[in-house]
Amino acid sequence: MTQNTQAPAPRTAPGSAPAAPRGLVDVRRRPSSWTGLWFVLPFLAFYAVFLLWPAIVGFGYTFTDRSLAGGDVSFIGLDNWSETLTDSDMYDSLWNTLWFTVLSVPLMVVLALGMALLTDHARRLGWFLRLSFFAPFVLPVTVMTLIWGWMYNPSLGLFNGTLSRFGIEGPEWLFSEDTAMFSVVAATAWWQVGFNYLLYLAAMQSIPKDVYEAAAIDGAGVWQRIGRITLPMLARTTALIAVLQLIGSLRVFEQIYLMTMGGPNFATRTVIQYIYDSGFVGLRIGLASSMAYVFMVLIIAASIAQFRLFSRKEG
């Protein structure tokens, strides 16, 4: 009985709150309730153990000469930090990462938009287009790199084989410093653009159809409808996709590592690979951690700057 009378109470009479037993009846905002915490606690426990704790411990490593091989650990102050910040290889790998990002982000936004527009207009092919454009996204990275490595094969691959049909000698693709990064970017775009494409498709579906109908009555052609209605209404989505793609591209590692191992001559070694090389190949945990922290700070700064820009557009 008391339940029935108390349920609506907190809205008007917060003073009566402390008397009620927690939780069951009154799950609206109540400052003294602990119920919510019980729901949050399991996630918090995982978060603390697997994310927060490693982040803190990793920061501690940066001041030590700890090795993955074991042995004595001693405090060495800022040595790892100064080594990281003066290491030209670190700057090279940062530059490679940035170059990959500069090449891939615009490409993967524009491609996704084009594909989504095609899908939106060629309705009868919808199923086939969605399958073709999105399917590569669900491939494991190793499968993607196997297939593209085979196509890129300089002497036996599909690309140079086809070129040879026309008497053209194709490039070395992944095996030349000049072309390796472009080849990796192309393969990455093929593999990952499906996600951006999906976001665009979803956004296009939510544009009200009567806007188009009104424009059609006024005699607007296809290009006018795309230019005056679709693109402006997708501005927020485009900003979001650009942000997500930028953050994603800055974190690149796996496909490059599998396709080129960072070569030739380190021309495609990314920051994440350099961290991996230092920590798991060179066994220098402290150095790898300080690199990771430098990189983390850069990514967080880029993310925050992007989100700022993005939210300003929104408002």
Partner: protein, 300 residues
């Protein structure tokens, strides 16, 4: 044809809009413009799908035929030899099982933990709530790849190297899903819960029988993307697993290729086999993926 776009009928029926109806027949069914559009769209789709076809074409060739120059798309003597020899080794099946086990652990735990946390943050107030929420949201900014070194040390100390739990547990923490789910729960009107609450339902029951059924699209979307992400994750399993028996599919395939030498048909056969599980999942859940993203509001 599975037109998974529900909005399509909207324009097709539209008996209410009287004006544009007469205009429609005027546009001929196959105008020059639409022929061009469908041609471009088909070509783009075929080009995009070609690498997968090429992988398959190579995989059904006898080894001697794979290196014929210039390349041919149709094998002269199609054979599944490469598949039988790859499957005969047995490790691909083993890795697929490993991937399945770890991916299911990750997906189930992620859904349970994130749903509970999002519900807690969305429907309750408690001491420290704003601070805890900010702490979790802040975690979105930390790139998981930068934590591999301390996470690996932690896993060594916990004795979880080369175990399913070692692969799965660090992948479970997904603060971004707490954020997305909370936003979705926030948008569910509280009136729905009132009736259940008046009947004496506790918070768990409200979550189970009111909130969750209303959240099916977002749960599907989060579930599918967690599944794809965990299945295809490479870096972490690559680091935490050394025992070939415990490798996941992407890691196992990466290490195995060296053993195949220049057996290109076998390499492509293993690539096709590695691609199959998720392609099937994708075909089954196609419509849910698009509508899930649309409903999730991830689209921004």
């Amino acid at each position: 044809m599975a037109t998974s776009t529900p909005p399509a009928p909207r324009t097709a029926q539209g008996p209410a809009t009287t004006a544009p109806r007469p205009a429609a027949p005027r546009r001929r069914r196959w105008s020059v413009g639409s022929v061009a559009l469908y041609t471009v769209a088909s070509l783009a789709a075929i080009v995009w799908f070609a690498p997968l076809l090429w992988a398959f074409a190579t995989s059904v060739k006898p080894e001697g035929e794979t290196t014929v120059m210039p390349p041919t798309w149709l094998p002269d003597n199609a054979t599944f030899e490469a598949y039988t020899s790859v499957l005969g080794r047995g490790d691909i099946l083993r890795w697929t099982m490993n991937s399945l086990i770890t991916t299911v652990i990750v997906t189930v735990l992620t859904l349970v933990l994130c749903v509970l946390a999002a519900y807690g943050f969305s429907r309750f107030d408690f001491r420290g709530r704003p601070g805890l929420f900010a702490l979790i949201i802040g975690g979105i900014l930390i790139p998981p790849q930068t934590l591999i070194v301390p996470q690996f040390v932690l896993m060594t100390q916990l004795g979880m190297v080369d175990t399913y739990w070692g692969v799965a547990l660090p992948q479970v923490v997904a603060p971004v899903f707490v954020f997305i789910l909370k936003r979705f729960f926030d948008a569910i009107p509280r009136d729905y819960e009132d009736a259940a609450r008046l009947d004496g339902a506790g918070p768990v029951r409200v979550l189970w029988s009111v909130i969750l059924p209303l959240s099916r699209p977002i749960l599907t979307a989060v579930g599918i993307f967690t599944f794809i992400g965990a299945w295809n994750n490479f870096l972490w399993p690559f680091i935490v697993v050394n025992d070939p028996e415990m490798m996941t599919l992407p890691v196992g395939l990466g290490t195995a290729v060296g053993q195949y030498g220049i057996q290109y048909a076998q390499v492509m056969a293993s690539a096709v086999l590695g691609a199959l599980p998720l392609l099937v999942v994708f075909l089954l859940f196609q419509r849910h993926i698009v509508t899930g993203v649309a409903g999730a509001g991830i689209k921004g």
